[in-house]
Symmetry: C2
Subunit: 234 residues, 2 copies
DNA sequence: CAGTGGTCTAGACCACTAT
DNA sequence: TAGTGGTCTAGACCACTGG
């Protein structure tokens, strides 16, 4: 692990453990460099990361302060790798509806930059939070990059499997949001009525080298769709 | 303007002007340092900013590549200061419904960290895109920080006024999204039916020094609510 | 193993805040 | 005007990619 990552993690931990609140002041730069025995630039890099993550803000001439605004139960869209981390403390569950290999719809093939007739794993699940339907998930995995998937794996966190077992290194993700109407079938799965609104999230996940490996279409239950996006200068 | 900002802007311009596409390679670091006559660290800082903005991705040992994925007409939530920039090329308009001074609801007073009975400017507008209702806006401005507002100003871009005339320096913003039902009155303004779904966006805008100055509640027309969130490692 | 991006440092100097 | 964060540099060294 890199020095600035280590420092960022420790400062994050420090904020959590001391239960610091909005506006609380962190130690000054010079003290932090001494504390962590690294150069000023390294501390600044660590702080920049925490600023991007929405945890702190820095005021020139004044100090470094805790931001911490996140409402509980909201999914942080800037997080990158799914919503497990944001919904910690909530009981999450999955009901697998189907897992198959297929040639995907054109839109997906395009998004994943597939050759003609190249196959994907197509996974359909109902995600459940505290016993209630959270969202309907349709996920397409490029078989070229996600070489193996089975029913057992898909019962748990697919992203954990990709990272820990397939050693896939995540890069960036594009997320598109809009409102759609549910079909009769979808509504039934979610315990809603045909034509009820849902929040649609379309995401394309890329490896660190820019190759797209997953196209996900999530339809969130209108009562459960709660998102958070922190922004900073930059 | 800072060196790294200038460099970032110029590289962004270079991508646009040469109409570079996803995966196109930018010049290597050494060439960029030479081109811009700045140190390697400064180039890297500029590139990091472009990466956060979702415009490029960097692959160690390989190169710097263009990301460019944005669908047109989608509002970039990570942008920070409203949606004018994302909706460039679209005809935007506002219909002011009311502008008054008042003591705001508790939730707003709390979000803006106001004293008891401290007043705000309360602005209600219908935002229009290409002649169709985009969203219903309710915006509360802390009078302590936004010292003056009138009907003329509020006809155009309030944020431009705050930045250019009041010299307000924006810092960070928290955005919360969820789905709500429209009241009869709201639905009428949007050309929809009572109970129709809308995408609710609640945002608290802060100055660079952490003081909250604006609480905005936007209800987007379900057919116009299109959002984009780019994420990167970090 | 050459090419390319990334980390980390020490230190000079700058810019803003608070008093 | 002292305290504190930010910019920028030159350079040593490291880590990954791809032929």
């Amino acid at each position: 692990m890199l020095k600035y990552e280590k420092v960022a993690n420790q400062i994050e931990l420090f904020i959590k453990e001391n239960d610091l609140n909005q506006g609380d002041k962190l130690p000054i730069l010079d003290d932090l460099t001494e504390e962590f025995k690294v150069s000023k630039s390294t501390i600044i890099k660590a702080l920049d990361i925490l600023e991007i993550k929405g945890l702190i803000y820095q005021v020139r001439g004044s100090g470094i302060f805790v931001r911490k605004s996140h409402r509980s139960g909201y999914i942080n869209l800037s997080g990158g790798d799914g919503f497990r981390k944001d919904l910690e403390g909530f009981e999450l569950d999955s009901k697998v509806i189907s897992l198959e290999q297929m040639v995907p719809p054109k839109k997906v093939a395009l998004g994943l930059k597939l050759e003609d007739n190249e196959e994907v794993y197509y996974l359909k699940r109902l995600r459940i939070i505290e016993g209630a339907p959270l969202c309907l998930e349709e996920s397409y995995f490029s078989k070229k990059l996600v070489i193996y998937l089975n029913n057992e794996i898909v019962q748990g966190s697919v992203f954990d499997y990709l990272r820990d077992d397939l050693k896939i290194e995540f890069g960036f993700t594009d997320i598109y949001l809009r409102i759609v109407d549910l079909s009769k079938k979808e509504a039934e799965l979610m315990g809603l009525k045909e034509g009820d609104a849902a929040l649609l999230s379309e995401s394309i996940y890329h490896l660190h080298n820019g190759e797209p490996f997953n196209y996900s279409i999530l339809k969130y239950h209108k009562d459960q769709a709660q998102f958070f996006v922190p922004t900073s200068r930059y």
